[in-house]
Amino acid sequence: MTLLDFARGPALYWSTLIMVCGLVWRLAGVALLPFRPDRSAAGPQSRGRVRGALGTIVSRSLPRRTFLARTFATVVVGYAMHLGLLIILLGGAPHILLVAQATGLSWPSLPKGVVALASAVTLVTLVFVLVRRCTHPVLRLLSNFDDFLSIVLTLVPVATGILLAEETVLPYRTLLTWHILSVEAMMIWLPFGKLSHVVFVFAGRAVSGAKLGKRGATT
């Protein structure tokens, strides 16, 4: 069995199962915790739980005007990276093909050039994020292994994916092998580290938004 066979066979099989198991574990672990009943009275400006939850999901995704001047670069880089990843994942023809072959679901792909541009932007932002985390004195102090691993495990699939799409530097087989293996490494780590924000980010915002919305606090 070649490394590529391993990547397309057992590694794909087990990394998918580990990711599914891990995500359900993490979500169930939080969802089944005892809910503390909110006994506070609804405030005069209460928006209700549902509107509060939905509003917070949106409002926390937008930059704060007060801090915008200071955080502009972070906001732009964050947006570019996340949008880039979304375009690569949902717009790249080989990724749609993978989903289609696994689930039967399919949608039109974006032109190769658009995905290439998004990939380039994502790669640059990821490198920037990594370098900044390594060099910024405060960020470095706040960072742990999880932070670095999560960035690297996102960066490597993007880098190998770009080389693979352009079929350059290394043979196609080598690039395909390492691209698939690096994605699988990310899938395995996804539920257990900071990458789990993929599923927790909106759920977390919704919970606090519901609570604050009922009380009428601005978020």
């Binding site: 574990w25 089944l32 792909s109």
Partner: protein, 373 residues
């Protein structure tokens, strides 16, 4: 020297001019990735070459390789070079049978000891001492060990001989292996393909007749000149791949337009062979040109790489019931973790209640704060 003892004499007998031989030598030099300047030297060596003894054994095979090579439509000098080879033993092609055939083999091996080429198609079964494939009461393993010992070089013809091929496919009931797994002391060239391209065998023979050695090989023992690039790199549908134009099914508009077959499972990007340049049936066509993706038949274990129709970007992921099982396990672990958290919280609540009672007397309620910050 007997009449027509050299290739040059034989070719002259067939009415092939020296000029035609030079032309062939130039083509051979190109296909073997040699500089064009060596063509006259190749022609010289070829015309002076003597008949090369070749012993051909068929092991665990389907005879497809032999069919492909003998029925190849390669006319002209390539064909004559095949004719020029002294095929001293080949069970399927020879007239002799039984003891007479055995004698031929013994004589050929003895008379040309150390000089003959040993060609093999088919894999070698090794389970139960190799009894799954025997010729004249002898296992393939035995015959290989004995005949490889006296060979100048070994040609593993076809994917089965090169890497085990279809007999080695899971669950490999006969523990089939390729030649290189058993023969360690002799130079071996793998000419894989299911079947292999006849012109590649000719090229290897020309190389041997000219230089007295096997051509340069890649890391899987294949002649670099023919297996140096992927099908994908030579494919005429490649521009469509680069433009992202794919056939989604075998009968859609993309298929009719001749677009790239990647999505239909083409293994061209990971397969090294010369199909796209040499093509088949005298250069007529090759699978991709006929509308079907490459199966990757010249690669080891091509039979066990999942469906021929799963694209390279896909793979053998888990079935839905396994995914459901994983989710159930996750739910179990998450539920257990939450349960443990509830229990420890209840213990803390009880402890707090106890402390409250102790501090505030029996009349106070044991209610603890229920809402978090």
């Amino acid at each position: 020297m007997k009449p027509r003892d050299t290739l040059g004499q034989k070719l002259a007998g067939y009415g092939i001019s020296r000029r035609a031989l030079l032309k062939f030598a130039a083509a051979a030099a190109t296909s073997l990735a040699l500089p064009p300047g060596v063509a006259p030297a190749i022609a010289e060596s070829l015309s002076g070459a003597r008949r090369q003894s070749l012993i051909w054994l068929s092991f665990q095979d389907c005879t497809g390789c032999l069919e492909s090579l003998t029925r190849s439509d390669a006319p002209g000098i390539e064909r004559l070079i095949f004719d020029f080879i002294s095929l001293d033993y080949q069970e399927t092609l020879m007239a002799a049978a039984g003891a007479a055939a055995d004698e031929t083999l013994v004589r050929a091996a003895r008379d040309n000891h150390g000089k003959y080429l040993l060609a093999i198609d088919g894999s070698v079964p090794t389970a139960e001492g190799g009894v799954h494939s025997m010729v004249g009461g002898r296992t393939n393993m035995d015959m290989l060990a004995e005949l490889a010992e006296g060979a100048a070089a070994v040609l593993a013809i076809g994917t089965c001989a090169a890497y085990g091929g279809i007999p080695k496919a899971a669950p490999n009931p006969t523990s089939a292996v390729g030649i290189a797994d058993l023969v360690k002391e002799k130079p071996i060239v793998n000419i894989p393909g299911c079947p292999p391209i006849p012109e590649v065998l000719t090229g290897v023979l020309v190389n041997f007749l000219t230089f007295g050695r096997l051509p340069d090989l890649d890391d899987l023992g294949r002649p670099l000149a023919y297996f140096g690039t992927t099908i994908h790199d030579q494919c005429y549908r490649r521009p469509y791949y680069d433009q992202g134009k794919f056939a989604h099914s075998f009968d859609d508009e993309g298929a009719r337009q001749g677009w790239c077959l990647f999505e239909l499972g083409c293994k061209g990007p990971t397969t090294r062979n010369a199909c796209a340049s040499l093509k088949w049936n005298g250069g007529t066509s090759f699978p991709i040109q006929s509308g079907h993706g490459c199966l990757g038949c010249s690669e080891p274990d091509f039979w066990d790489k999942g469906s021929f129709y799963t694209s390279l970007s896909g793979g053998e992921g888990p079935p839905w019931d396994a995914v459901g099982g994983a989710a159930a396990v996750g739910l179990g672990i998450g539920g257990a973790a939450a349960f443990a958290a509830r229990r420890s919280r209840a213990a803390v609540d009880r402890q707090l209640a106890k402390e409250w009672q102790r501090d505030h007397g029996a009349t106070a309620t044991s209610k603890t704060e229920e809402d978090g910050p």
